[in-house]
């Protein structure tokens, strides 16, 4: 072999190169753009936004409790996360699939830095999810009936879920270098999410899942929720970062940056995971606070008209809406009930934490009405029925035991002033019926209507309320007298009575 004499000097190149970190960011931006424009991600975001619009328009009947509304943002981002997982994994294996890896291996940016760029490329999807979460929660918060406080940690779960799924896709791509692994995992995860019945919220294991959005029928004050939301957010953030650094390590990153990042993120994930599991069991202080709130809550009271309205501090803005209902019911009542001062007190059963459907016993205190933490929709005629029952029977407990014609008076007082009384009748009954006997819901113990009472009430609601209202006021004493029959009430109010004698045992 021979060596050729040098004929001319080699030119010194002045490259346009910039170095490492900036190139990683440039590649991340390139990959992020492709990721956000990929069909699965676009479809997922369109579905997500459509769901937000559909869900939030009528959620909580326009009266959201924000410490529950924050958790409601956690489920759908998982759909986005799965799409991001799929596309991030596909992007990672792209060079292997199309045979460009041997070429790219000779380029400056090392595989672990390319992997870092892929991991960073899922951040914009997570940020876009954060915008959607903020939009959904902001929409709820701006509703006039909104009360309570959202938790930033609960709100962070959705975006962090997308981040964790995205980095999982990057790791999966790096580990398998196969285009089939990610779709397979997505199918498995969908199967788990849709059909899986994991441990309950009370189990620390359930908090290993990205989102634990358990929402019960009744809301609790935010300080009584006892959800380890902040630790869960730390766990998710740590897990997402840990997966990302692991992917970099798999791709050959062995430097101090990757090792330190892996160690710190693993520590964060483990710390968050352990502390969230411990946080699932209520502390003695929380248990005591829940017991106190259930038996003798600290309420904020306000006067509206002649009545007193006592609410948990976060629900204080809602007393005006309650007063409006009380005023409407009392406006059509007769006798002393027309201006009798009532005490409306908010009551909860917080002993079992959020997500449980605890029943509240009827109050035996005279002229006292219970109201729950939910409002709007069916809760309005339910509360209205409770107010009417107390006006007629004297106490909630007595109202729940009504078994005569007074029930007709109660239901007419409760429903006649509503925009669509017949629809309100249907909604307030447990079986959504307007015929036959039925249970009538109320914030505490339910009331009951016989078939005959239902027929009479329906006939009354079909008549103009003004005429009936005058008769109610005129015959108030007899209409509210214990033992009055349904037939007599119908007669006094000018409608046909029941075709047959009815009884509460129907």
């Amino acid at each position: 072999m021979s060596a050729v004499a040098v004929e001319e000097s080699a030119p010194v190149q002045t490259p346009l190169h910039d170095r490492g970190a900036r190139a990683v960011l440039a590649l991340a931006r390139f990959e992020a753009r492709r990721l956000l424009l990929s069909i699965p991600v676009v479809i997922a975001f369109v579905a997500y936004v459509a769901w937000i619009v559909w869900r939030t328009r009528d959620s909580w009947d326009g009266n959201p409790v924000l410490q529950d509304a924050d958790r409601a943002t956690q489920s759908m981002p998982m759909l986005v996360g799965l799409a991001v997982l799929l596309c991030a994994a596909r992007a990672v294996v792209r060079s292997e699939r199309h045979g460009t890896e041997p070429h790219f291996a000779t380029l400056v940016l090392q595989p672990w830095r390319r992997t870092a760029a892929h991991a960073l490329s899922v951040v914009p999807a997570a940020l876009l999810t954060a915008v959607c979460v903020a939009g959904q929660f902001g929409w709820e918060a701006l509703k006039p009936g909104a009360v309570g406080h959202g938790s930033p940690a609960e709100l962070a779960v959705g975006p962090l879920t997308v981040l964790a799924f995205g980095t999982l896709g990057v790791l999966l791509g790096r580990l398998t270098m196969s285009a089939f692994a990610a779709p397979l995992l997505v199918v498995v995860l969908l199967f788990v999410f849709v059909l899986g019945t994991g441990p309950s919220e009370a189990s620390g294991l359930s908090w290993l899942a990205p989102a634990v959005p358990v929402i019960g029928p009744d809301s609790l004050p935010s300080d009584l929720l006892g959800r380890p939301a902040a630790w869960h957010a730390l766990y998710l953030a740590g897990a997402a970062l840990c997966i990302a650094f692991l992917a970099m390590a798999v791709a050959g990153g062995r430097g101090a940056f990757v090792r330190a990042g892996l160690a710190l993120s693993l520590a964060a994930a483990v710390t968050g995971g352990v502390l969230q599991a411990r946080g699932v069991t209520p502390s003695p202080e929380l248990t005591a606070a829940r017991e106190h709130a259930s038996t003798d809550p600290d309420l904020t009271c306000a006067e509206h008209g002649g009545s007193t309205y006592c609410a948990l501090p976060e629900w204080a803005p809602r007393t005006g809406a309650w007063a409006e209902v009380v005023d409407r019911v009392q406006a059509v009542a007769g006798g002393s009930a027309h201006d009798r001062p009532l005490v409306v007190r908010q009551r909860i059963d917080a002993r079992y934490g959020p997500g449980t459907d605890a029943s509240i016993p009827a109050s035996t205190e005279p002229h006292r009405v219970t109201v729950g933490t939910a409002w709007g929709g069916n809760r309005v005629p339910e509360f209205s029925s409770a107010v009417a029952a107390v006006l007629v029977a004297g106490t909630e407990a007595a109202g729940s035991e009504l078994c005569d014609g007074r029930m007709v008076t109660v239901m007419w007082l409760s429903l006649s002033w509503q925009d669509d009384p017949m629809d309100a009748l249907r909604r307030v009954r447990l079986d959504d019926s307007v015929t036959g006997s039925a249970i009538v819901l109320s914030p505490t113990d339910p009331l009951s209507m016989t078939e005959g009472q239902t027929d009479v009430v329906r006939r009354l609601l079909e008549n103009p309320p003004a005429g009936t209202g005058a008769r109610v006021k005129k015959h108030w004493a007899e209409l509210t007298a214990p033992g009055v029959t349904t037939a007599r009430v119908a007669e006094l109010l000018g409608v046909p009575g029941p075709k047959k004698a009815d009884s509460c045992e129907d």
Partner: protein, 286 residues
């Protein structure tokens, strides 16, 4: 004067196969052709010089940087443009996106400067008009030019081209020769090829490899001169010739050791190449 590339004693084995055998060379600016039969070690040598695979033994530098160290390898890669023998593409990328992607992997981070550079190289390879077209919709020749643009992006000082004209039609090949000639102005290009015409037309220097070793290293004229007096014409194929074939005029062109009284013919670079291979003990087929 410092050569762009200086290699000494490069050896590489794949199992028991000796892919490179003590290869030493020095490359200077201009286009250097790398000729050799299949399995001669050309692609292996290019892959070693492109830092795709490390040599078992030996060392080399590119523009003064030693790829034997991690930092040196990065510096070499910053100065390298590589067009592999069978370049892969991302079919859903546009030509612009693909070259842009490669530019990022070459650490061209500033978006505006990078895009200007990508547009420049795409114009240079005559793809400016189709830069927004997806690669899967480009012809084979266009794709090859995309690969060349990807190699050229960032203005590398050392360009490694592994059989870039394979599969191209004559017109495309001519266009590619122009591009390679332009690329060789002011930078060092190592061009592996089976086409002796490419070498004759483009290269200021030629290296012939066989069985993993360098068998010739000189100018094209020197390679042609190897065949001086060893090419002759005859009416019948000469049984003593190393290679012989009937030409378009009906006479036979023979290469080897001519018999007394043979009618000499003007040698070509291909004749010299065949004789170098023959001297190296490689079977010559013609």
């Amino acid at each position: 004067m410092t050569p762009t590339v200086s290699a000494s004693g490069l050896s590489l084995h794949y199992g028991r196969t000796r892919a490179l055998d003590d290869v030493s060379l020095r490359l200077t600016p201009g286009v250097t052709g790398l000729l050799g039969p299949n399995g001669a070690g050309k692609t292996t040598l290019l892959r070693v010089l492109a830092t795709a695979v490390p040599a078992d033994r030996g060392a080399f530098t590119v523009l003064g940087h030693d790829p034997g160290t991690s930092r040196g390898r990065q510096e070499v890669r910053r100065r390298l443009g590589y067009l592999p023998q069978t370049p892969g593409f991302h079919p859903d990328f546009t030509a612009f996106e693909f070259v842009d992607y490669v530019a990022i992997l070459k650490e061209l981070a500033d978006r505006r400067e990078r895009h200007r550079e990508v547009r420049r190289v795409l114009e240079e390879v005559d793809l400016g008009d189709v830069r927004g077209r997806r690669i899967k919709k480009l012809s084979g020749g266009m794709r090859q030019r995309v690969a060349l643009a990807a190699a050229l992006v960032g203005d590398p000082g050392f360009l490694v081209l592994d059989e870039p004209t394979v599969g191209l039609d004559p017109e495309q090949r001519m266009r590619f020769r122009e591009l390679i000639a332009e690329a060789g102005e002011g930078r060092t290009v190592l061009l592996s090829t089976h086409q002796t015409e490419d070498v004759a037309m483009l290269c200021h220097r030629v290296i012939v490899m066989a069985a993993g070793a360098v068998r010739f290293d000189g100018t094209p004229a020197e390679l042609t001169a190897r065949a001086a007096g060893r090419v002759w014409s005859s009416t019948e194929k000469d049984p003593g010739a190393k290679a012989g074939w009937r030409t378009g005029t009906g006479s036979f062109r023979n290469v080897g050791d001519p018999p007394p009284g043979a009618e000499p013919a003007a040698p070509t670079l291909e004749d010299g190449y065949l004789l170098v291979l023959d001297d190296a003990g490689t079977e010559v087929a013609a």
